[in-house]
């Protein structure tokens, strides 16, 4: 952890690195002077005049440090503080520079725009194990609940390098990208862990055909930056842009898009490295079994190295909402949203703990001017408000009630207009708590045929309340049927129930989650639905096969393409029939 995060105030007051905004400078200056006055008076009156001299190094140090940071903000070196030596003009100029001059709007010699992160939140490249002299590393995912010791981390920079490594070795292999799955899908004990984030190039782009070919280690945010100047937007992706494309393909993700569904619907073709190191091209017509086995296939049959994706126009979209009760949602959705050509994003949020009131949020196409200054979502260094709300909703009395009746109504007062790319550019960092050691936020997801929405919602609500699950949010999304992937979670038109909840990290708490998760899976399967696989592997093998009846086909394909069971991770270690 950096000093900046560990001791933010000391970092601000006593280091001259980085940049600060005008507002921060005013606040911190007020703080410095008022503190100096209080301490000076106290020491003077209670101890003696001599004692006040101890304050001077602190005063001068903090004034110097904060002023230097402020000068940096306008791309000036701290040496400009010497201007104070010129009588009258120097102090006036400095006063203007420090208190009023706007900072440079972009990254400069001295760092990024204050409070703006340089990049999306990233997971580490494998933690070192103290005092261990091997290449072993701990690979964990964003929840920090699934640490796995791997034999070595390998980060290929070219496809050939990757193929060579696969060809020349025989042991187990696990593959990871952004590592935002939440159940160990990116690691396996003592495997060779391949970190795909080095393969992050754009290979081909056609503005006219609206397609882009990219390496699988590229992140969605990188693609957004590339295509945004061409007024194009990714056809299907998830809301958060930190993830790598390869990871999103392996879980066959979805977003909040209307009229779309699983990511497979926006994939034209891909290249995949098989267990023997061979490179295979796959599409719906060329090697279709590889295509349908690899997408949503959790790296079972090979490593996806590149992919060709569909793009769409980058439109401005305006947020609208409608408050309603759960029994009215299906009709509302069917009548007003499902076939509405203007609707671009949609989600329905259910308020815990009763899950009877909902807020349906739809972003519709608009020709109005966006209300945000930037075309892509600016990244922030910290999300104190988001963090506070998450804490308040989950840890305080009536937190949920306040959210439903006070906070959300205020947040939804405005009618923001964003770009399509902007609205798909969220940073996972906004969900990050201060610490994940005692409690952590986790996702789960259930897919239910649209006609069984009410039945499943009732069962879900009953289970959550019986187990006192600390649910933050249940968000409803819609998806059209999958085009044929073996582990398709949308075998017909479904509603996705995205559950975001908080849990403790003790073993007892983890077991408790496993118990109610299995009940929820039964509830989903009983109405012909499924649960989502990138999360913790709590489901029994029997539940897994009932939810994914075509899993057998994928297992057979894996047997053929990966006869030595090289591609491992928690998913395959749990459910694959070993030879």
């Amino acid at each position: 952890m950096r000093l900046k995060d560990k001791l933010p105030l000391s970092y601000l007051l006593f280091t001259s690195r980085g940049r600060i905004h005008r507002a921060t400078y005013w606040i911190v200056s007020t703080f410095i002077w008022s503190t100096f006055y209080v301490l000076h008076t106290a020491l003077h009156d209670l101890v003696g005049v001599w004692a006040t001299y101890f304050l001077y190094p602190l005063l001068v140090g903090s004034l110097f440090a904060t002023a230097t940071k402020r000068l940096h903000d306008a791309n000036r070196s701290g040496y400009w503080l010497l201007a104070v030596l010129i009588p009258v003009l120097g102090p006036i100029w400095l006063f203007y520079q420090l208190g009023f001059k706007k900072g440079t709007p972009k990254i400069n010699t001295f760092g990024t725009v204050p409070d703006e992160a340089a990049d999306y939140f990233k997971n580490d490249t494998g933690q070192l194990i103290p005092n261990l002299n091997t290449k072993e590393r701990i690979i964990n995912d964003v929840t920090q609940l699934n640490p796995v010791v791997v034999a070595e981390v390998f980060r290929p920079l070219s496809v050939d390098e990757l193929r060579e490594r696969i060809r020349s070795t025989t042991g187990p292999v696990s593959v990871g990208g952004g590592r935002f799955s939440m159940g160990g899908q990116t690691a396996s004990s003592h495997s060779l862990h391949i970190d795909m984030r080095g393969l992050n190039q754009v290979l081909d782009f056609s503005k006219d055909d609206r397609t882009i070919s990219v390496q699988a280690g590229i992140r969605w945010c990188d693609i957004q930056r590339f295509i945004d100047p061409h007024d194009l937007s990714i056809k299907i992706m998830q809301t958060y842009a930190n993830f790598t494309v390869g990871g999103a393909l392996s879980v066959n993700c979805h977003g909040r898009y209307m009229g779309h569904g699983p990511l497979i619907l926006a994939v034209r073709s891909m290249n995949i490295v098989l267990a023997d190191g061979s490179l295979v091209r796959a599409s719906r017509t060329e090697n279709p079994e590889v295509f349908f086995g690899a997408i949503g296939g959790y790296n079972g049959i090979g490593i996806i190295v590149s992919v060709e994706l569909d793009l769409e126009e980058n439109l401005a979209v305006r947020r609208e909402y409608y408050k309603l009760t759960r029994p009215n949602y299906r009709t509302y959705f069917a009548d007003s949203i499902r076939d509405n050509p203007e609707a671009v994003f949609h989600n329905g949020d259910m308020y815990p703990p009763s899950f009877t009131n909902m807020r349906a949020v739809t972003w519709v196409k608009t020709l109005e001017k966006p209300t945000v200054k930037t075309r892509l979502m600016p990244l922030r260094e910290s999300y104190p408000l988001e963090r506070y709300f998450l804490w308040a909703f989950t840890e305080t009395f009536f937190g949920n009630w306040r959210r439903e009746h006070i906070v959300d109504p205020l947040l939804y007062l405005s009618k923001p207009i964003h770009w399509r790319n902007y609205e798909a550019g969220y940073d996972v960092a906004e969900l990050e708590p201060r610490s994940r050691t005692k409690r952590t936020y986790v996702l789960q997801e259930y897919f239910v045929p649209v006609r069984h929405f009410d039945e499943f919602a009732g069962k879900m609500s009953e289970i959550f309340n019986r187990y006192h699950v600390n649910v933050i949010n249940v968000s409803i999304r819609h998806a059209l049927p999958d085009s044929g992937s073996y582990l398709a979670w949308a075998r017909e038109e479904v509603f996705a129930f995205v559950v975001y909840y908080k849990q403790r990290t003790s073993e007892i708490a983890k077991n408790e989650v496993a118990i109610w998760t299995r009940e929820l899976i039964d509830a989903a399967v009983s109405v012909g639905g499924a649960y989502y696989l990138p999360y913790q592997a709590h489901a029994t093998s029997e539940q897994f096969h009932r939810a994914y009846p075509n899993a057998g086909k994928l297992f057979a394909l894996k047997k053929k393409l990966d006869p030595n069971f090289r591609f491992h991770n928690v998913f395959w270690d749990t459910y694959y029939e070993r030879l």
């Binding site: 933010p8 105030l9 601000l12 921060t24 606040i27 911190v28 007020t30 703080f31 008022s34 503190t35 006055y37 209080v38 000076h40 008076t41 001077y56 005063l59 001068v60 030596l85 009588p87 009258v88 102090p91 910290s382 104190p384 506070y388």
Partner: protein, 368 residues
């Protein structure tokens, strides 16, 4: 980083609390709550005999106090600068005395006279300017000046001596003329040529040169602007104060040299005199009072009149001829206090004789 704003608010609250409590009751001590002057003293003269061009509003005897405090205060600085460097001068307490006394004198006239907008604006302009000046000086002296200050604050460097001289010249000047007429600019070459660059207390010399240069440059510029502003908004002030006395003293009737000759005499023996205004007014008044003269009107007014005296801290005056308004300790001269008295024009001679008998020095008579 929500902690910083919260801490800042807390520290500002604590600092304000300490600042406002300090010297709340000890820097300016009012004689009582609100108005302590009898209401029948607070009236304008309905039928003034004084010619109209010499008449000034009756409430101005009170409102000129804050303005004059800004002469008393530099006078105190000048006295102090001869013995000690001004680094340890209690600037902040003087800011407080200024605003506290403004509040006390305003309490006396509030409700008895219509609001004198022009005068209040002028007080605010000079009050805020002085507050900023003193606050900056206090800040600078606290973080720089006190670190370079010679032991016991002795006036040893050329620059500190220059400062003492400058402070004295300045106060002598503003006793008779508006401050903005002072020639600050010509002091700059005097500062640079009259002091050596190197020498003992080298840091002190640099620090003082920087500070004095800044002060002279800022005051020269600000004075120029105020001069333009004053010319545009206020009429040129008369340099005299018209008084009507009941009878001419023998010194005048016999035409003794140095005495003021009457501008006009009236049938009942009373006479109109034009006395010098500002600093020279109170010596002239004292001289007349000693000759047994009684005043009927001063600047057309026959009601309340404010005067301040400098007295030992133990002095407790009492007389039916005046009321005590407030006292202020002279912070740089322990044992001495400023006492503000209010009398009526007709009793001014008695009051002046009373204080003279007590051996107390009149600081100023506020001639409207």
């Amino acid at each position: 980083m929500l902690r910083l704003p919260i801490l800042t608010v807390l520290m500002v609250l604590v600092a304000s609390f300490i600042f406002l409590r300090k010297g709340r009751h000890s820097l300016t001590i009012p004689a009582g709550e609100g108005c302590v002057v009898p209401k029948d003293w607070l009236v304008s003269n309905p039928h003034p005999v004084t010619p109209v061009e010499h008449i000034r509003p009756a409430d101005q005897t009170f409102l000129t106090y804050p303005e004059w405090f800004l002469v008393h205060s530099p006078a105190e600085i000048a006295d102090y600068a001869h013995v000690k460097t001004t680094t340890t001068f209690p600037y902040v307490s003087h800011i407080k005395q200024l605003w506290q006394s403004y509040s006390v004198v305003y309490d006396q006239i509030k409700g008895s006279f219509p609001f004198n907008t022009g005068y209040h604006i002028m007080i605010w302009v000079i009050g805020v300017s002085t507050t900023v000046e003193y606050a900056m000086k206090s800040l600078y002296e606290t973080i720089v000046g006190r670190l370079t200050n010679p032991t016991h604050g002795e006036v040893v460097t050329d620059e500190d001596k220059f400062n003492a001289r400058f402070a004295q010249d300045y106060v002598d000047f503003i006793r008779v003329s508006p401050w903005y007429e002072f020639d600050f600019a010509s002091r700059i070459p005097a500062l640079l040529s009259g002091t050596s660059f190197f020498g003992t207390h080298f840091l002190r010399k640099c620090d003082r040169k920087y500070m004095l240069l800044t002060e002279l440059l800022v005051k020269a510029g600000y004075g120029y602007l105020i001069k333009l502003g004053t010319k545009a908004s206020y009429d040129e002030a008369l340099p005299t104060t018209a008084v009507i006395i009941d009878q001419l003293p023998t010194a005048i009737t016999t035409g003794r040299p140095g005495s003021v000759s009457p501008t006009k005499t009236y049938a009942d023996g009373s006479a109109l005199l034009l006395l010098p205004r500002y600093e020279a007014f109170h010596p002239a008044v004292s001289a007349l009072a000693q000759q047994g003269v009684t005043f009927r009107e001063i600047a057309g007014n026959n009601s309340a009149l404010l005067l301040t005296v400098l007295a030992p801290a133990t002095w407790q005056p009492a007389s039916p001829d005046f009321r005590l308004v407030f006292t202020q300790p002279i912070l740089t001269k322990p044992g001495l206090k400023r006492v503000a008295l209010v009398t009526q024009v007709k009793w001014l001679d008695k009051t002046v004789r009373f204080v003279n008998e007590q051996g107390v020095k009149i600081e100023h008579v506020y001639d409207y």
